[in-house]
Structure formats: structure tokens, C-alpha cells
Amino acid sequence: MSTRVTGLLIALGVLLAPPIAAAQTPERPPMIAGCLTENLAFHNCALQKAKTFNPPRTPTGRPNLQGYWRSRLTQAFSVEGVAENHPYVKDPVTPWDVAPPEIVEPADRRIPYQPWAAPIGREGVNFRQYVDPRTTCSTAGVPRLALQDPSQILQPPTDDHVLWLHDDHHQFRVIAMDGRARPGNDVKMWNGFSRGRWDGNTLVIETTNLNGYTWIDDSGNFYTDNARLTERLTMIDPDTIHYEVTLEDPKAYTRPWKAAWALVRDKTPGGYELFEESCREGDRDLRLIREQGFKLYFGAPWRLR
């Protein structure tokens, strides 16, 4: 266990250490934007709110999602949730909070893995044998970046791109809104290639060209390089975005599945700005983790099976 903690502690900036997002469970108030905060209840409530809420607009009339956002109704350990009897709940080193699944579909709220894939994800081979790729200073990937506090959305008034900036390891997502074709299948990227469009008041982002080298959460849940992710960002009040992601991967899952949580506007008094969270540049711990026998991931368990 202690090696896992070391891993979490790697993500420190050179001087200004930001919050260690993965080790924290953000507060979960009873209500957000008038919705209960158990993820499925929130999701269903938010879908209703989205029908009537008229969001603030940019000068060109698009919903204005710009600002600084913090992830809420999230826990980083597993999108399948942390049950009361989970051994890590009372663990002295990594006391994970009990939390509901972030998964809202299918009804059992578990990842619909194909039989070969379940023992690799879900606290399986990945978790026990490999270094969490986020710990190697890679990106958290999609959708895990949206779990990592905080982020900033910029919407240039030319409406041709949306830029989603993340504190986490200075990651960014360029979302092309100009209808351009995606690159060929053999171009693989850590954060994939994202194309966006407006569906009413919802920003829909479709991401392909993923290399499958990232995890979905700390417990090693994963997708392959065949994944196609569809995110939907909808404001449900002036300070809350309903975030929903659908994950499709015919190589690893039996059906698409969905997770949902909230992005809540940062209202730090005096304003807020992102920090440069360098990672590799200040890394002291990866060697120690490797010495414990953990292997580098790079998708090996699904790629080489």
C-alpha cells in the first residue's frame, strides 16, 4: 500500500505544490444546484434542470462555460464507487471515503467489461502490477482529467475551438469546433483528438485517437486504443456544469456505459488562476515505486494479451 501512496505524492509542483487531487475526496454537500448529490440522483435531476435553465451566453450566443471549475461528486479511487466494507475505507495510509459509484449507466453501475478485461481493470492486474500512469507524470487522460481539480475553460469568440486547461500536469484539451476530420486511426494520443459541437445548450465533445495508455481511476479501470468517448457539458445553474461521459470500447466492454458528476465554479475570494504543475521536473519517487516491482503501464495488459 505504501507504494501507492508514494505514487500519489509524486504529483508535486516544483515550488507551489497544488492539492494532491487523487488523494482527496472533494466535499459532497447534500445538495448542488438544487439536486441531491448521490451521482445517479444528481444526474437525473440535472437532466431535468438542463431543460429549463437558460445559461449565460457568449457574445456570439453560445452557452458561456468559461471560468474556473472544480470537480464535485467525485472520488478518485474507483468509478464503481467505494463500498463501506472496502478494505481501504479504514486503511491507516489511504483511508478512502465511502462513496457512491460515479457510473450512472448501466443499472448495476459497474463497468460492463468483457470477461477477459474485468480481471485487468477493477483492482486487478493493472492495480497490482503496474504504476498508475498518472504517477509517471503522464496525463490523467479522459475522463479522469475532469476528476482532477481544478480546470479552466476558454471559448475564443471565433467559435472555432474550445480550450480546456487543467492544473493537473499542465494538461490541456484542444476541442475543435470547426468540423474538421479526425486524424487517421494510427495517430494515437494521450488525451486523444477531440471534436466538439453544440447540441442546444450542451457542449458535446467526441474523443477518439486515444492511445489507451491512461487509466479511468486510481484502481486501474481502463479502456483500449479503440475507445470512443462522448462528453456532455451542460450548465444547470450559473455555477454548476452537469458533466456526463459515455465510454464505448467494443474491444473491452460489452456495451457503452456512462458516468456523471458536477463541475462547480471556483469562487475563491480575490480570484483564482491555474498554477504550473510540473511533474517530471520535480519527480523523486518514480524510481522508488519501480523498486517495489511495479511495471510501467503503456497499455501492456490489454495490448500484449
Binding site: P157, T158, P183, V187, W190, E273, F298
Partner: protein, 257 residues
């Protein structure tokens, strides 16, 4: 008659060129809705500054190149001349960039990889294919945060001087070099960058380099940023540290199999 004919040609030429002469002050460049120059797009240098800021012959794996330093010489303090020479000798392993680190500013501007600029009235953001670097330049009138802060890409605050974006950058580390040839700076580095569009597809990039711990006076580099115009151009990823690890993982796997 002949003279008159020439004159009329001359007059016509003047009439035609008059608007052009006017444009020379304000070239036909794309503009944002607020009238500012629209710097957005994917850009890249076409020079060899990443290998050596100064004039240099070809070396193995390094194209020959002409310097980007105004006045050719970099005004190092005497101790720093020696350090630069040591850096050069050890560059294959001593250059922090070889470890896959963020290459610093201004070096990230002239790594031979594309980068993309985004603009809103309050921000200019630059995202880099190389090492997933990001620069957020605040154009909202806010000052630099109080230091000491040591960031690999510094803290950037911008303002518009007519059609030129002027960016003040401070809060650096002493851990980055200016090029592979060992040119270097301290954490006291202070940059003033000037981005001026000279046409729809070119930005003149000038950067004044000030570092009282290393140089005897401020000095300047000038280069061009070219718009990448391929219809299918997109920002892809080149993350050197991860590529090194991937290769290492592959070697380990082969060894154990």
C-alpha cells in the same frame, strides 16, 4: 509624350500603391471581434535556434544555421562564458531538455514542433505539441503574482501595444537552457516578448532577454513564426519523457520474456 506616358504610369502606380503604403502601417491581418490582431492558429519556427541560437556549422544531427541573436554575440559575464563552454562540451547529457523536462521560455517557442494560439479578450493561451507545454498569458491587466515562484515556463502577463502583443515573463527556474548549445540563464531571467503579425501567415517574434546574474546587459533575439497551412494540420503530441519511459518499458519487457 514619352515622358508624359511614364508619368501617368507613375501616377497610376502611386494611386495603386497608395493604399498599400497605408497598409504598411497596419497590414491586412486577421482580427478578432474586438479589433485586436487574431494570432490564433498553429505556428512553428523554421530555424535552428533550438540547437544553437548563434551562427553555427552543421554538426551530426544538427542542421547548419544562422543566428537569431541581434548583434550575434550574447553578452555573458566573464564567469558565465566559462559555464557556457562547459555546458556546450557536456550538452549531450547535461542539457535538461534531454531528460524530457519542459524546455523553458523562450526555448519552447522555437523547438521545431508546432504550437497553437488561442485568444479571448482576457487570455492568450499557447498549447505546445512538445512536452504538452502550456502558456497562459493573462491580458486582463493583472500583475505577476508575488514571488518567489519558480515555474518552468514562467508567469506571463500581456498587453497590447497597438497591434503588437507584448508579454512580460518572470518567475523562472535556473534549470532550463536556452538551446542545446549550452546557452543558459538564471532564475532571475526576465523576458519581454513582442508578437507582431506582419501578414496573415507570419508573426515576428522578438524577445528581449534580461538576467543581471548572467548577462552584462539585456539582449535580443528576433525570429519568424510561420503559420502551418496544411488543410489537415492539427496539434499532435510529442512527450519526450513518456517516449523515453515507453522505450524503457519495452526493453524491460523483452528482457523478462
Amino acid at each position: 509624350m514619352r515622358h508624359g506616358f511614364s508619368s501617368s504610369i507613375l501616377v497610376a502606380a502611386l494611386l495603386i500603391s497608395a493604399p498599400r503604403a497605408g497598409i504598411a502601417q497596419a497590414p491586412a491581418i486577421p482580427r478578432m471581434p474586438d479589433g485586436r490582431p487574431n494570432l490564433q492558429g498553429i505556428w512553428q519556427v523554421l530555424n535552428t535556434a533550438a540547437w544553437d541560437l548563434q551562427d553555427h556549422s552543421a554538426r551530426l544531427g544538427v542542421p547548419a544555421g544562422q543566428g537569431v541573436v541581434d548583434g550575434t554575440e550574447i553578452p555573458y559575464q566573464p564567469w558565465a562564458v566559462k559555464r557556457k563552454q562547459e555546458n556546450f562540451a557536456a550538452r549531450a547529457t547535461a542539457d535538461p531538455e534531454t531528460k524530457g523536462y519542459l524546455p523553458g521560455v523562450p526555448r519552447i517557442m522555437y523547438t521545431p514542433f508546432p504550437f497553437q494560439i488561442f485568444q479571448t479578450p482576457t487570455h492568450v493561451a499557447m498549447t505546445f505539441e512538445y512536452a504538452q507545454g502550456v502558456r497562459i498569458i493573462y491580458t486582463n491587466g493583472t500583475p505577476h503574482p508575488e514571488g518567489p515562484i519558480e515555474w518552468w515556463l514562467g508567469d506571463s502577463r500581456g498587453r497590447w501595444d497597438g497591434d503588437t502583443l507584448v508579454v512580460d515573463v518572470v518567475h523562472f527556474t535556473d534549470q532550463t537552457w536556452l538551446d542545446r548549445a549550452g546557452n543558459f540563464h538564471s532564475e532571475a531571467l526576465h523576458l519581454v516578448e513582442r508578437y507582431t503579425m506582419t501578414g496573415p501567415d507570419h508573426i515576428t517574434y522578438e524577445v528581449t532577454v534580461e538576467d543581471p546574474k548572467v548577462f552584462t546587459r539585456p539582449w535580443k533575439m528576433t525570429m519568424l513564426l510561420y503559420r502551418r497551412k496544411e488543410p489537415n494540420v492539427r496539434l499532435l503530441e510529442y512527450v519526450p519523457g513518456l517516449l523515453m519511459e515507453e522505450e524503457q518499458g519495452e526493453l524491460e519487457r523483452r528482457k523478462t520474456n
